[in-house]
Amino acid sequence: MSEPNDAQQAGAYWRANLRLMAWLLIIWFAVSFGAGILFVDALNQIQIGGYKLGFWFAQQGSIFTFVILIFVYAVLMRRIEKRFGVDDTDEPDSYDVAPDQGETIH
């Protein structure tokens, strides 16, 4: 497994992460605070599937978008991490588990 051997690599990885995060948070804000709250009245002029669109975003659409955003983030981050050689896919599942210090208590 490759590890970043200099601060530059880590810095580039971090900036890529922040850029991706910023894009996803813009969408996050747009569907909830934007479509569901600030522009709800304008969007309510449009009807879709028996819902006023603004109302739909506030009670359904934003939630669906949130789910998609998190998975998009998980997938794209994995790609970014591979690119910068900092992905943890090869780590064993017991990766950060310290040796069990405690006596077992029955």
């Binding site: 601060a7 109302f55 998980a74 210090q101």
Partner: protein, 587 residues
């Protein structure tokens, strides 16, 4: 079999299942007790997080509140799900990389300060106890209605069962119990919703049913009918809000940020093996949550429509049995203001006071006598919003087993969250206060014993709050979010993203955020409830939404103090670098 014995059967079976799992998965070490050993599969952790997260407020109260406030209820839907995006992007992966047991652990290490750790513990305790009181109240309501015991007895029963598996099993027991509780809860929520959607619209998916045309041949959709019926009765339209935009904005923001800052949710991400697992796990958690959260607005719309149809201009004699059942336990009250023997429903409170106070005996139509003085408005009926989900199967005339299932589901929701909260309370006491601050000589075995003892003590305190609750379940819980938004979230966020943030800034930020938010809420809710009107609110932001302002206060104070105090030591810079990378480097 009668409805009540079915309920006893369902509740009894589900409890037996939880206890069985708790015995099977009991904790052997502090690592087991605090973070379930740290090898929980991300999907399993997602299910457990969903159950941990979805409390009595989500299951019992949320749809009821939305039913009565329509669009304005969207704050809960967006707020309580949008927070997971913040959690997955901004906190969970980094806290997982940090890899300790508790949230105060991170604060204490990152800000190299026992004081910061203790303040984080105080924030955590305030938040968790506020939240847990709501759960116990939910347990009490379910017990009193379905098993026909006093609310207090219900609270004691809930305390006993949570005590058993949280104290014995720790995080490990809780994780696997929560998986079972999620299954019970989601099944119990979906079955009546699908039934009712089919009955009203012929569409099995409630998410689509809410927008679908009604089967009664009117050609109106459910939402159109709701708007029409409510406007007819003098309410605002269901799909349009009554609250100001800024308040809706602030409440949503406070709930989102608060969600991301809730300690009992954050620690769930300490239980997965890897950083990438923490991100995936947050996604799965939100999938399982979204199943309920996208169903809730449909349940809300259907039940409000059914409720209006049932009560409006119905003679008390002709009302269905469920109405009297809820009246019997005091969650519905009726006064025949115009003496026509029929129930009139409309906007405004029917009586003075927050809840009906019942006198002895029965009125002319056979109703329980309400001693509160009636108000001027035409509305004659008081309905506790917490009953809507629970009464839903009865309102729609569904079979008895559905009702029994809903009772078991409501208990699962309340108990799973209560257990998660008890765990963070006990670990913050045994680990952060005792082991890491005051009694560093504590052995592993003693620490585990302390964790169990503090869980036991926390159950008792939670029970007290359950019996003497400050308000509606969801309202009580809403305050926990304000406090989390103003204290825990900013301190964690800055710890990860602002390398220069130091001890002094973090402490000053947490204290000012918490104090500001707490004082604002306490002023309007406890000291001067009469002043709690929009004209008096700061910028028109209600106590429910003030957490957003509290968060900004926290950030502002922290940055100001940071500028005038020494930067953190070099090793903290290295710590921040290491938590930003998913793989081991510096540490």
């Amino acid at each position: 079999m009668s409805a009540q014995s079915l309920t006893y059967l369902f509740v009894g079976l589900s409890f037996a299942l939880y206890i069985g799992i708790a015995i099977w998965a009991r904790a052997a070490s502090t690592k087991d007790f605090y973070v379930a050993g740290g090898h929980v599969h991300p999907v399993v952790n997602g299910v457990a997080t969903a159950a941990d997260w979805m409390s009595a407020a989500s299951f019992i109260s949320m749809a009821g509140i939305i039913a009565f406030i329509g669009y304005d209820g969207s704050v809960y839907l967006m707020g309580w799900t949008g927070g997971f995006v913040l959690l997955a992007l901004l906190l969970a992966p980094y806290l997982r990389k940090f890899g300790q047991f508790t949230v105060p652990d991170f604060v204490g290490e990152r800000y190299y300060s026992k004081t910061a750790r203790v303040i984080a513990v105080i924030c955590l305790l305030v938040i968790s106890f506020t939240y847990i009181a709501g759960q116990m109240r939910g347990v009490g309501i379910v017990f009193s209605r379905f098993l026909e015991v006093e609310i207090d007895t219900g609270v004691y029963a809930g305390m006993t069962i949570v005590f058993f598996y949280a104290v014995l099993g720790g995080m490990k027991g809780i994780t696997y119990t929560q998986v079972a509780q999620y299954c019970v809860m989601i099944f119990a929520y979906l079955v009546p919703a699908i039934f009712i959607s089919l009955l009203l619209t012929g569409v099995p998916l409630p998410q689509i049913g809410l927008g679908a045309p009604l089967l009664d041949g009117s050609g109106q959709t459910v939402l159109e009918r709701l708007d029409a019926v409510l406007v007819d009765l003098g309410f605002g339209a269901y799909t349009e809000g009554q609250r100001s935009t800024i308040d809706v904005f602030a409440i949503t923001a406070a709930l989102m940020v608060g969600t991301a800052g809730l300690p009992h949710v954050i620690v769930r991400f300490f239980t997965v093996p890897k950083v990438s697992d923490a991100r995936r796990s947050a996604g799965w958690a939100l999938v399982f949550i979204a199943i309920l959260y996208t169903t809730a607005p449909a349940v809300a719309g259907f039940s409000r429509l059914n409720f209006v149809d049932t009560v409006q201009n119905t003679a008390y004699d002709d009302t269905p049995q469920w109405l009297r059942n809820w009246e019997d336990i005091g969650l519905i009250g009726w006064t025949d203001k115009n003496s026509d023997g029929q129930i009139q429903y409309g906007p405004g409170a029917a009586f003075e006071g927050s809840a009906p106070v019942f006198g002895e005996g029965r009125g002319p139509a056979g109703e329980r006598v309400v001693t509160n003085s009636p108000t001027e408005v035409a509305n004659e009926i008081y309905v506790d919003r917490d009953i809507m989900v629970l009464a839903n199967p009865e309102i729609a005339d569904l079979p008895d087993w559905v009702m029994a299932l809903v009772a078991a589901g409501g208990l699962a929701a309340a108990l799973s969250t209560a257990a998660g909260l008890l765990l963070v309370i006990s670990s913050s006491i045994s680990h952060d206060l005792l082991k890491k601050t005051f009694v560093s000589t504590l052995t592993e075995k003693q620490e585990l014993l302390c964790a169990r003892l503090s869980a036991a003590a926390a159950v008792i305190v939670a029970g007290y709050f359950g019996i003497n609750p400050p308000g509606f379940v969801a309202q009580v819980v809403a305050f926990a979010f304000g406090l989390a938004a103003a204290s825990i979230f900013p301190v964690l966020f800055m710890g990860i993203f602002i390398r220069r943030m130091n001890r002094q800034g973090a402490i000053a930020g947490m204290v000012s955020g918490l104090v500001f938010t707490w004082l604002y809420i306490a002023y309007f809710k406890f000291w001067a409830p009469a002043a709690n009107v929009p004209e008096n609110w700061f910028l028109g932001i209600s106590p429910e939404g003030i957490g957003m302002v509290g968060m900004l206060v926290n950030f502002a104070v922290a940055f100001a103090v940071m500028r005038f105090t020494a930067p953190p030591p070099d090793k903290i810079g290295k710590l921040v670098d290491s938590i930003r990378l998913p793989v081991q480097t510096v540490r």
